[in-house]
């Protein structure tokens, strides 16, 4: 658990780097990532800018605490290395070499994480999708955004464009109605999502029906996740609420960009947790929920069960839709199994093209009240989607 927390704090810090003021430039070399003050654990990406002097740069070496961890021969000078899990101070040194020897270097020191301090962190992160017509608007800058929290303008402290690592739960309805071609489609779609994940992204696969059929831990290892997908068979009824609640709980201790991708061809029938509680859970967290609704059509069909009458089931459905939209995610209705894969790809693409904005709310009271969040973009003809707000909890 501690390891997870530390990794996520590292992710959060990585998100902050994108707006961080440029570090003091060492002669010929500038470390862009990790930023000053970040916490370095686990897989870490080093990015450096090298400004050539009189002679061309032949290679760049990266050292951590004096130990060579990798060499890059040509631009971009980006290196992924395993920093380990020890909560210790790390000195990162990037050395550029020319034909005649050392051309320049830069050093940055990363202190160990103070866990008690970071638990009080109340940074609100918004993941914002901006469209201009049918296209994504990718040319916006920090200055284009205005954030209002309960009507009060907020100061943006972090700003980034989509490359923040993500932690996803692929929540896949594997009930009996998903047998055969549909399950194959789900496997293909989820695999496409996993294949599109980048280093530092993590995912867990949850396959459910009226019971839990498969649950993997969060992992970057695509083969582990793919194995889970391949070996689970469809059976049973549908309990969306229970396992959506579970997914949100699993994401709760993680920081950074968190997302649940729910794929289902039906409504909840068998859950014990009402959707109103899932909505509350979603409001207290920061995870986005995407709902791929297989063969959902335009209209929800009412039904009654021994658990709820048709009216109450309709309410559950509406509340789920509300939770999805409030979270800043969206509902994608698809009519054919063949569209599942592109739906997953589309969601991953959307996540990559989001703006990531962080701010410290000026009026935090921990009173359980709803905070309305409004994001305005100072450009003509754009549509903005992000979470509607959060519960101050």
């Amino acid at each position: 658990m501690r390891r997870l927390l530390l990794r996520n704090l590292a992710c959060l810090a990585a998100g902050a780097l994108l707006l961080a003021p440029a570090a003091a430039r060492a002669a010929g070399v500038q470390i862009e990532s990790p930023v000053e003050g970040a916490t370095v654990f686990g897989k870490t990406e080093v990015k450096a800018q090298v400004f050539e002097g009189a002679e061309p740069v032949t290679r760049v070496e990266v050292y951590v605490n004096g130990k060579l961890v990798g060499t890059v021969a040509k631009p971009p000078y980006t290196l992924l290395f395993e920093a380990g899990d020890e909560n210790i101070q790390r000195e990162l040194k990037v050395v550029a070499y020319g034909a005649s020897g050392v051309a320049g270097s830069a050093t940055r020191v990363f202190k160990p994480l103070q866990i008690d301090d970071t638990m009080d962190l109340k940074l609100q992160q918004l993941f914002i999708t901006v469209n201009r017509g049918q296209e994504r608007a990718l040319d916006l800058d920090q200055g284009d955004f205005r954030i209002a929290d309960n009507g009060k303008q907020q100061q943006i402290v972090t700003f980034g464009k989509g490359e923040l690592p993500l932690t996803a739960v692929l929540l896949l309805d594997t009930s009996e109605s998903m047998q055969g071609e549909r399950l194959q489609g789900v496997r293909r779609g989820a695999t496409a999502f996993l294949q599109g994940m980048k280093p530092l992204d993590e995912a867990a696969v949850v396959m459910f029906s009226d019971r839990l059929l498969q649950l993997t831990p969060f992992s970057e290892d695509k083969s582990v996740l793919a194995h889970a997908l391949a070996t689970t068979q469809a059976a049973g009824g549908t309990a969306v609420n229970d396992f959506l609640y579970m997914s949100l709980k699993l994401l709760e201790p993680r920081l950074g960009r968190r997302v649940v991708v729910l794929l289902s061809d039906g409504d909840d029938v068998h859950s014990v947790v009402p959707m109103s509680e899932v909505l509350w859970k979603s409001r207290t967290g920061q995870a986005m929920i995407y709902w791929i609704q297989l063969e959902g059509g335009e209209k929800h069909h009412s039904f009654a069960s021994a658990w709820r009458n048709a009216k109450d089931n309709d309410k559950e459905y509406d509340t789920l839709a509300k939770a999805v939209l409030e979270s800043g995610g969206r509902i994608q209705r698809i009519d054919k199994v063949a569209e599942i894969e592109s739906a997953f790809r589309g969601i991953l693409q959307e996540l990559r093209e989001q703006y990531v904005i962080g701010y410290y709310p000026t009026d935090v009271r921990k009173d359980g009240r709803w905070h309305d969040v409004r994001v305005d973009v100072q450009r003509f003809g754009v549509r903005v989607r992000t979470r509607d707000g959060y519960v101050d909890f």
Partner: protein
């Protein structure tokens, strides 16, 4: 004597109404499509009947041929050739009955009716194995799928049901009521398996009318009442079931949950507490704990809900849902770290291979009808010799056919 009203719609359940209701359901589901002229069930042994065939003589010949074939099939059934008899009857019926010819069912009905009239007159008890043959054929039609066979399904089910009712009405004995009630229960079970709630409810209702001690039909009816939000009626039925079988734990659970829905939370809580504390760890026990925790949670007793769920997890350590519910309760209490610790345990669980208690509650399980079907099999088997005997008497159709042949 077989009355003239044989196979006339029953006053409580008009056959045509039930048939049209089923047909409407099938049509609504888009199951009925334009039919190809080739019948998928046809085989060389079938009797060919062309829709709209004209001429009094040819109709008579066809009817006689159907009757003869039907007699042969019944003889095979009586001889214990159950597989052959059922397949042959399907072939015969499907060679005559077509969904695009609404009059086609009448032809097979009249021919079969004529044979049954004769053997029933010889011995009323023969109606039981004949009903069971049609019951078996109905099951097989369902397994084949309803597409293109709506009238066949209606016919097979109608035959089994009407024979059951006729047998009871003509016999008047308590034993006949038991047999008839179980035939209807089994038919209702098959209908429910294929999600046809209304016709299933009618079957169960009649089954309970014939035998007010038929708890399988009563419980099945009760589940339909629940699904239709008729909680008060369900409670009444459940009290009757528990009066007959006080130890029926599923009935106790349903009673408690329906009481809860009606706002009688004190009664519901008492019932759920007893079930959750039961010695035997069954799906009913687990579900009682889940619902008791839910009730307590809704009443604001989060500590009580927590206690119930923690105890349930001790008994059902592999049930992920109990952990999720407990995490939700702890979240509500503001114990986020405790909730996280609970969720961490979920990650260690093995995938579940059994239907959840909540699914079982929402389903009429076919095991419910196992006893009824066993009872029917025994009763039908014991009467096969009577059927063989009744069939050995020369009949009008055979004599007529012989005359034509000579």
């Amino acid at each position: 004597m077989i009355p003239h009203r044989f196979l006339v719609p029953h006053p409580r359940l008009p056959a045509r109404v039930a048939a049209s209701a089923v047909l409407a359901l099938v049509c609504a589901a888009g199951a009925v499509r334009a039919q190809e002229p080739v019948d998928p069930f046809a085989n060389p042994g079938a009797v060919t009947a062309t829709p709209g065939q004209s001429g009094h003589g040819s109709r008579r010949d066809t009817s006689d041929a159907i009757q003869n074939r039907y007699r042969q099939i019944l003889a095979a059934w009586a001889a214990g050739q159950t597989e052959k008899a059922a397949i042959d009857l399907m072939a015969l019926e499907s060679s005559v009955v077509r969904d695009d010819d609404s009059g086609s069912r009448k032809r097979i009905l009249k021919a079969e009716e004529a044979v049954i009239h004769e053997i029933g007159a010889a011995n009323l008890e023969t109606l039981v194995p004949v009903a069971m043959l049609h019951h078996d054929v109905y099951r097989r039609y369902l397994q084949h799928g309803t597409k293109g066979h709506a009238l066949l399904l209606i016919h097979a089910r109608g035959m089994a049901r009407d024979l059951a009712i006729l047998y009871k009405e003509q016999s008047g004995s308590e034993g006949a009521a038991l047999v008839s009630s179980r035939i209807l229960t089994s038919l209702g079970g098959m209908l429910q398996q294929y999600a046809q709630q209304l016709p299933a409810a009618e079957m169960f209702y009649q089954a309970v009318t014939l035998d007010p001690r038929n708890t399988a039909a009563m419980m099945s009816l009760c589940i339909i009442y629940e699904k239709n939000s008729q909680y008060e009626t369900a409670v009444e039925m459940l009290h009757k079931i528990l009066a007959l079988d006080p130890g029926y734990s599923e009935a106790q659970l349903r009673l408690a949950l329906n009481q809860k829905r009606l706002g009688r939370t004190d009664e519901a809580r008492k019932g759920l507490e007893q079930l959750a504390a039961a010695k035997e760890a069954t799906w009913v026990t687990s579900l009682a704990a889940q619902e008791l925790a839910r009730l307590l949670s809704e009443k604001g007793s989060l500590a009580g809900a927590q206690k119930v769920l923690e105890a349930a997890i001790q008994r059902f350590p592999d049930e992920a849902r109990l952990y999720v519910e407990l995490a939700a309760v702890l979240d509500r209490k503001g114990e986020m770290r405790g909730a996280q610790a609970v969720m961490a345990k979920v990650l260690t669980l093995k995938p579940s291979t059994q239907d959840s208690s909540r699914l079982l509650y929402n389903t009429t399980r076919q095991e419910t009808f196992a006893e009824a079907r066993r009872f029917l099999d025994e009763n039908a088997r014991s009467r096969l010799s009577l059927l063989a005997e009744a069939l050995s008497v020369p009949n009008h159709a055979t004599i007529a056919a012989d005359k034509v042949g000579s």
